[in-house]
Subunit: 326 residues, 2 copies
């Protein structure tokens, strides 16, 4: 119980924090019936909306906007495609009408035709300068402080922490090590196909115009966890319907904890249930740990005070404004 | 230099051992220009022929033979297929005429239609009883002792050791942790497609009748290393033409060591160059470290004395005999 006060300082003392600490104490205590050897302590975290804000757009969508601008500069004809016009802010309302094929084409066009080094350079330049529309900070300054502490707390207790995201493997790897302390081999995402070549003795990869595996979402999360890790997570953390299968996978282990972050904080972040209704229903049915951003997080972003930073009506107005972003 | 005598006791003191020890000392010495931070010390080992004998057949081929017998017992009609007859030892010579499609069908049929647990049980039962045709020992007693020591030596110097094999990911995982101390998340192979389901609250995987990714061989080794690890190996160890691209990948790093094991030991194992001629030529061209099984390994299998166990002509005769195995 002393531990519970020292650990996770940006979590309010409450049922959520207590349940996490109690779970970790059980699985790490060799004399507990729920003990899990260190090699089997796998934790998997979703990324967008779980570790970083996903509103008004995913950070990778903001990166795509930058890439669209670059590509149109090189090849103005591309700017005539309706999907590209969305990102050039010429026709933001086309977004709702965009087909799946157009979206895939957009993702592939903005992520391919580059060497791995060029991709990294482009993504890192974006991350070094692009600021979140509402918060006015770099995306890498917007990881939820309580989640950073949870990852550190788990690592300190022998857990191997993975990111398991629908986002691009190569994109998330450009910041996961510095931001989360998660090395590239612990990032599972949706990979762009690549080709290997050796030119003048220098080996390299080039991203091709296709995906190397299906979208890492829903059932593909447990499938890829099995394929790449080969062990189930005993803690899984998510925030949306795309995480349901991964959360069930963890929850169904002999000792397993499924954590669902609920975005109910219009003051400091956003309040929404779209895309998470199925997950919230599953959480209720299976008694998963639902973490309330408003109630359980004492501090949201690194460096914030532990008080809400804006009066609720101001924040709500800002949220509506930023959600109008393409 | 004192280190070199303590480390790698089953390696003869010679140029190969010296080059390995010198390389590891350089990349782990913070004041060396070749220093590599621990997080980037990735080593990748091929499996068949690099860590275990691959003659007369791969261990997984012997497993397939057991599975063929089981499947034919359940469904005798399967035994009429020519590819199955090879494994029933009714028509061993058909093997040379077997098409790629027949081989793929055989691999998929013997590895699918089972849950993950059933597959593990089957593979572990095989490994617990099947003995190598020539050596009369369990396959898990035939890991090359010098390679086990090399893996331990690298781990003790902060390396993360991966298996990167053409063999089935799920098959190699059934023994990699116990035999090599390599956990499942550090086994990269050719994965069988799987499906995820939750039945009565219990999550599980079932192997389907297809591969989830291309054969992890040749250029697919670096591609899968990039996709799964996201960092290049600075040491790669192989023995055949299927390892050339992986060896080039390691060799071309600023500090990189490519190691090719040469099977030139008809006395204690086998002497052959088939399937390795391209790799041997590349090794010569690029000055890779060629390790001679006959000359560099003081002891071959765990528990062996450090003297060759059989006179050369006897061993050669045994080799010919065992190569006639299907």
């Amino acid at each position: 119980m002393v531990m519970a006060q020292v650990a996770l300082p940006s979590w309010n003392d409450g049922a959520a924090k207590q349940r996490i600490v109690a779970f970790v104490e059980q699985v790490t205590n060799p004399s507990s019936p729920a003990f899990v050897p260190a090699a089997q302590r796998i934790a998997t975290f979703d990324n967008d909306g779980t570790l970083l804000p996903e509103k008004p757009v995913f950070v990778q969508t903001a990166f795509m906007q930058k890439r669209v601008a670059e590509l149109v500069k090189e090849n103005p004809k591309l700017g005539e495609l309706p999907a590209f016009q969305v990102f050039l802010e010429r026709d933001p309302y086309y977004r709702q009408r965009m087909s799946k094929e157009e979206l895939i084409h957009l993702v592939l066009t903005t992520h391919s035709g580059m060497s791995e080094e060029q991709f990294q350079t482009s993504a890192q330049a974006f991350l070094a300068e692009a600021k979140h529309a509402r918060f006015g900070r770099l995306y890498t300054q917007l990881a939820y402080q309580p989640m950073l502490e949870l990852m550190d707390y788990l690592k300190a207790h022998g857990f191997k922490v993975y990111i398991c995201t629908g986002g691009g493997t190569e994109f998330v790897r450009t910041f996961a090590e510095e931001l989360y302390g998660v090395p590239p081999e612990q990032v599972i995402g949706t990979p762009i196909e690549l080709e290997f070549s050796i030119t003048n003795g220098k080996p390299g990869f080039r991203y091709l115009n296709s995906f190397a595996a299906p979208f890492n979402n829903k059932k593909h999360k447990p499938m890829n966890i099995q394929r790449i890790i080969g062990r189930p997570p005993i803690i899984a953390v998510g925030n949306s319907d795309g995480d349901i299968e991964m959360l069930k996978f963890a929850d169904a282990q002999a000792a397993g904890l499924a954590i669902l972050l609920r975005h109910d904080d219009a003051v400091r972040e956003y309040a929404y249930e779209e895309g998470a209704k199925g997950a919230l229903a599953s959480a209720k049915e299976h008694n998963w740990l639902v973490v309330s951003m408003a109630g359980d997080f004492a501090r949201l972003f690194p460096g914030d005070s532990s008080e809400p930073s804006l009066p609720a009506p101001v924040a709500a107005a800002l949220m509506l404004e930023s959600l109008a972003y393409p």
